[in-house]
Amino acid sequence: MNRKGSKKTAFIYLAPAMAVILVFLYLPIILNFMNSLYKWGAMSTEVTFVGGKYYQQLLEDETIRVALKNNLVFAVVSVACQIGLSLVIAAVLESRFLRKWQSVLRTIYFIPSLLMVTVTGIAFKMLYSPSIGLINPFLEKLGIDTSGIDILGNAGSAIFGVAAASQWQYIGYTVVLFIVAMQSISEDIYEAAEIDGADAIQRFFRITVPMMKDTIMINMIIVVTGAVRVYDEVYVMTNGGPGRATQTLATYLYQVGFKNDQMGYASAIAFFVFIVTFILGLFQMKGYDLGDD
């Protein structure tokens, strides 16, 4: 409709959200870049301009490499479980012979995603613990010598322990999401394929996956972005340790900024996180139908 003064009305409705977004979402990114050019701390009043020094430091920092590796581990494990495995589970739950089981099973699978990461993290920390946990006694029952196993205590296994807890929490979430997407695929296509003699596996790869291509892509990007941003899980379960073995970009920037009070360097790391997630976000945006009229 082209009513007089519609532009003014539009701005009145847009203004509050716009103001909040510009001030609290966009401005911090700009300030963050400026902050990264100075040596400063929350505890001191001394501010020195250092230019691109922190970006140089970023390239040479061993811990950044460890963090990147851990973010990558998180991304790979999460895509395998929350996209790959979830897709298979969703497809199986959608088969006709499972229809009557579906709602119970998917509700059970979904419940962990309602918990706080803090709750999941503390629970798994306890489950993994060699002294009070349940995982080691269980492995012992299977005849495995657990004297050397301390999942979160050993640098080699810690990040996998953290990532596993996260999969336990979120697989059911994407299962439900994929089921919703699958339900919009017409039943006729499957029936026609069945008449032509396609078995369940062929139907999955030839119909389900291609029909859900966009949904799979969007969620893959969401999952990878989540892996780049991961903070809560690590903060609660290992706080980056043992040593720096489970440090991720987000926990490392938190430690550098708020524990070591090197806010300038932390800002540089934050800017790096911004660049990576922003690029991923552009792909995500392309997936949405933003048709603006």
Binding site: S6, A10, A17, M18, Y26, L27, A42, L105, Y254
Partner: protein, 273 residues
């Protein structure tokens, strides 16, 4: 016959998976009712005496205060972000004007901005403008990050409401304000509910901003409170578990009551088609 066996096998695997998902949850709830001694010696037995006291102890050890803070901050943030999103979604889905595309890009572009990359600046800003260590600061900042997605969700819904409804109201002499409050908002109740639930979940579970922006123990939220309780030297594990159960109950109840709205809200951003 082979098919029957195959189906049976699949069902068995799915049930095993359900057990893996469910065991930690049951263990958490059971442990919350035990004494610390039982936790160490008999992790799988039912508690000898159900220790309801643990819940009271957890509540008094700080969970009560954290719970109250979480409720205040989460409700404030949810109302704030949902309302602003309802307003913002209206013109971009139902009014034609020239610079619209730009505004849509700015709002939805917010989806791409990671809170992790803004946290240091926001900490500094909050200190300068007096939002540090305050409920209001938490409401506004966590709410701000909810607005892009909320607007996206509501906008998609508004677009499906027939335009002729507005037009006939305008012909009858209604003002935009009346159309918005009397026609659009009542019709949008389902999506507003979905949107509010999604935001509630996100803010209720939020850890990083609460960790960075709140200083006094009296104002901390449950996620931070639980981490702190866990960090004390003589951790009372069973009491901590009761605290974790208390922290989880609100969302599980909301989910069980409003499952449809919940699922719609959560899947809207990830399902295309």
């Amino acid at each position: 016959m082979a098919k029957k066996i195959g189906h049976g096998l699949i069902i068995a695997v799915l049930i095993l998976f359900a057990v893996i998902i469910f065991l930690p949850l049951i263990w958490m709830v059971l442990t919350g009712f035990k004494t610390n001694k039982e936790l160490f010696l008999e992790p799988w037995k039912l508690p000898e005496v159900w220790q309801w006291r643990n819940y009271l102890d957890a509540w008094n050890a700080g969970i009560g205060t954290f719970f109250k803070n979480s409720v205040i901050i989460t409700l404030g943030s949810t109302v704030f972000s949902t309302l602003l999103a309802c307003f913002a979604a209206y013109p971009i889905s139902r009014i034609k004007f020239t610079t619209k595309k730009l505004w849509v890009i700015i709002i939805l572009g917010g989806l791409m901005l990671a809170p992790q990359s803004a946290v240091i600046s926001l900490f500094k800003m909050a200190k300068v403008i007096g939002l540090y260590d305050s409920y209001l600061g938490m409401m506004i900042i966590t709410g701000a990050f909810r607005i892009p997605f909320a607007t996206f969700l509501i906008m998609t819904f508004y677009k499906d409401i027939s335009v002729s409804l507005d037009e006939s109201a305008f012909i009858d002499g209604a003002k935009t304000r009346q159309v918005f409050w009397k026609i659009i908002m009542p019709l949008s109740k389902p999506i507003i509910a979905s949107c509010a639930i999604v935001s509630f979940r996100a803010v209720w579970n939020e850890l990083m901003f609460a960790n960075v922006l709140l200083e006094s123990t009296a104002k901390k939220t449950i996620p931070v409170g639980l981490v702190n309780l866990q960090g004390t030297t003589t951790t009372n594990w069973t009491m901590l578990m009761s605290g974790m159960v208390i922290a989880s109950v609100p969302l599980i109840i909301i989910f069980l009551i409003l499952q449809k709205q919940f699922i719609r809200g959560l899947t809207a951003g990830g399902v295309k088609g």
